[in-house]
């Protein structure tokens, strides 16, 4: 089990770093897919099968596809994509800051001891999640439905708007 955890977490971290370091957005999108898959795997080790599936289905399946689709749609030309790498000092500063951030949070987290509680039978399975969703969280579930439709309409209205003026010519 632990080896699996380490592999997956290493994979996740590496691909996360890749996401932010690749110059081409397409490559970072793909590395994001890798991160999501590794996370799904981690969910499984945490007995959250339902969420692992959801993760793969919506995140990897829907959202990332949308990203890639957008990237392709905008068919950004070559030079446009290849933005100049940010100045060295900026990256160092940010890396340091990130490290500091990580250390701070980690310092907070490491105090957390606690052995794992005894799990009930069928914990995290789709059935129990489904039951919970439709009993305790039914209101939230419905509202999220509405949320999605609103987001859908919003996205449609925004993207569809026929711009009545031509975008300025890129200089």
């Amino acid at each position: 089990m632990t080896i699996l955890f380490y592999i997956l977490s290493a994979l996740a971290v590496l691909s996360a770093v890749a996401v932010i370091s690749f110059r081409q957005p397409v490559y970072s999108a793909l590395s994001l897919v890798v991160t999501l898959f590794s996370l799904a795997g981690l969910y499984l080790t945490l007995h959250a099968e339902f969420l692992a599936i959801i993760q793969i289905l919506t995140y990897a399946g829907a959202i990332l596809i949308l990203f890639i689709f957008i990237i392709m749609l905008l068919n950004l030309n070559k030079d446009e994509l290849k933005e100049q790498t940010p100045a060295l000092w900026r990256r160092i500063v940010l890396a340091l800051l990130g490290g500091f951030l990580f250390a701070g949070l980690w310092w907070g987290v490491k105090k957390l001891s606690g052995d794992s509680a005894k799990l009930t039978e069928g914990f995290g399975s789709i059935a129990s999640s489904g039951k919970l969703l439709f009993t305790e969280y039914v209101l939230a579930f419905e509202i999220s439905g509405i949320l999605l439709t609103v987001a859908l309409i919003g996205a449609l209205v925004l993207a569809k708007r026929r711009l009545n003026y031509l975008p300025e010519e890129k200089n």
């Binding site: 932010i20 945490l46 905008l74 950004l76 980690w106 949320l147 919003g154 300025e168």
Partner: protein, 103 residues
């Protein structure tokens, strides 16, 4: 594996996402790093839910995923709009909210 490991990973993902947002000029990549941060948060939810033996964490994670989806849709629509308007997605191009110094 104890919860600290998972949480450490969550923190790592979160920090990387944060740095990504700040570092990258390209809006799309910034947007992806936001997704990364969200996933980091999701992971911590699920880790806690696992170690506390309580399904609520997973429910929260589930709703976050839904939220992420909605947010991604709208976000990308905006990015498309921005691209149409300015012809590029570099964040350095959109500066007209700049304060006119010394008015």
């Amino acid at each position: 594996m104890s919860i600290t490991h998972y949480l450490t990973l969550a923190i790592a993902l979160f920090s990387i996402g944060l740095i990504g947002v700040v570092l990258r000029r390209n809006l799309l990549v910034a947007f992806m790093s936001i997704e990364l941060m969200l996933n980091g948060a999701n992971l911590s939810f699920i880790a806690f839910s696992r170690y506390l033996g309580d399904m609520q964490g997973q429910m929260a994670a589930f709703f976050i995923v839904i939220l992420a989806a909605a947010e991604a849709a709208v976000g990308l629509a905006i990015i498309v709009l921005l691209f149409r308007r300015q012809g590029s997605v570099q964040s350095s191009v959109f500066q007209n909210l700049k304060d006119k110094v010394g008015v």
